[in-house]
Symmetry: none
Subunit: 258 residues, 2 copies
DNA sequence: CCGAATTTGTACGTATGTATA
DNA sequence: CTATACATACGTACAAATTCG
């Protein structure tokens, strides 16, 4: 059973040549060995240096292009994309496509919630405003009792969506939320970090800014506060993904040395 | 060889076989012809039905998989993932007819497009920027020739969504756009007003502001320009609804006096 | 439990078109 | 105009995983 011969690791069943190439090139790009706008080696050169067929090289380049890291131009060559520094792609490219999809979905959710916050600020009625506040204080209560705050967090966002008086916002939130990450604190990510007090305290602080803007009827401020909250959540999510990646890498390494 | 083929498509450059296959399969998926969880035809069958090589089929499937629409499993087949668009398809199917729904959907679309414009400003690469410009000038050309500009308008917005490098924005736009108003100028609303020159000229002016902001890389300006454009579109849509209402009232009155 | 058939994954070779330099 | 290099496409072969008899 301990056949370290064909050690196809449980986590990574695919050594996959093209992935190896992708990883190698990606590393070079992140190290800045090839500056943005510069041309990569030709496919022919790459086939030589990596010792694989052109098909593999093409597949690898296609994957990189799909992530937006490089931009092939017919007849000229493959060039490094200019604005990779700002885009999450640089980070997203590190992980599998599934996580990349989750991030993309989260981003769409961000777009929707930003606008819903702005609309809630100008459209909410008394009952809806009360509903948002109620969710906020419920979060507070759970926090003090050290109970899981996940549902309250979701309820807070849901109340805001509801206050737009556009039922589609709630629908969208439900659909997106169920599918990919209820913003924060949940599911496969029940790490200590996510559950830590200071972490949730930070969330609540961001929630308060949103709440104040909405009760003040300031749409612009509400949008800005929600944007800040969700971009911060995105960042936290990325960090958690990265942590998992490191964990995986370690476990692979451990398995290999066995 | 009088094989002038099927070059009836207006796409000037790349028919691109794999893209054709992608579009065809995507259409089937969105139409719900293959339910989530179901298996697609095998690669061999697809090569036969489409009359192309397996390479093309594989490339097309790779793209669909990159977008998270399908999930290939070695030895078993390619399966449809439960996807947001299908959920929205079912969601929007219930309420396609009512105008108030249409307005609400338009509002959600507004949220999505505002953010996509901002993202496009900072993430677009050269090719994507060219695509947006191309759509813009296509609109211009059609305007001068007094041809219907609807498709070009849609293409402009679609190009911007595409420039976010987040395929979900395009997905959402496709789903929402089909169900409820392609922004402006189309479908049940082919009034003289909608087709008037000054009207479309105004649209193009708004488009220009968006285009300039994106090419300048100014995310905030892009968002603001898109917001202005879509809220103006909302307003125009409401006015058209009102106009129809008046027309209806008049006809009722006329019928009554008869 | 095993093995054969099916289906996708990977790989290589080749040919032609097309844009760039 | 020519040469280079990428884009597209087809064909083939074998490997690996799954399914099912």
């Amino acid at each position: 059973m301990a056949s370290d011969m064909a050690t196809s690791l449980k986590v990574e069943r695919k050594p996959k040549l093209s992935e190896t190439v992708v990883a190698a090139i990606r590393k070079q790009l992140q190290a800045g060995e090839i500056q943005p706008g510069q041309k990569l080696p030709t496919e022919g050169q790459l086939t030589e240096t990596f010792g694989v067929s052109r098909t593999v090289i093409r597949e690898a380049l296609a994957k990189l292009a799909a992530d937006g890291l490089v931009e092939p131009r017919q007849g000229a060559g493959v060039f490094v994309t200019e604005h990779i520094s700002t885009m999450f792609g640089a980070l997203a490219a590190d992980m599998g496509s599934k996580d990349s999809i989750a991030l993309n979905v989260l981003e769409v959710r961000l777009a929707i919630e930003i606008e819903s916050a702005g609309l809630a600020a100008v459209r909410r009625n008394a009952a809806q405003e009360a509903g948002i506040q109620e969710a906020f204080f419920e979060f507070e209560r759970l926090l003090l009792n050290s109970e899981p705050t996940g549902p309250a967090d979701l309820a807070f966002h849901r109340a805001i969506a509801s206050a737009t008086n556009n039922p589609f916002y709630v629908e969208m939130l439900d659909v997106l939320g169920r599918r990919a990450i209820p913003c924060d604190v949940t599911s496969p990510w029940s790490t200590e970090l996510a559950q830590s007090d200071v972490y949730q305290r930070g969330l609540q602080r961001e929630h308060l800014v949103i709440l104040n803007a909405i009760t003040a009827g300031d749409a612009e401020a509400a949008r800005e506060a929600m944007r800040a909250h969700l971009t911060a959540s995105q960042q936290r999510y990325r960090e958690r993904l990265h942590a998992r990646q490191v964990f995986y890498a370690d476990s692979v390494k451990a398995a290999a040395t066995e």
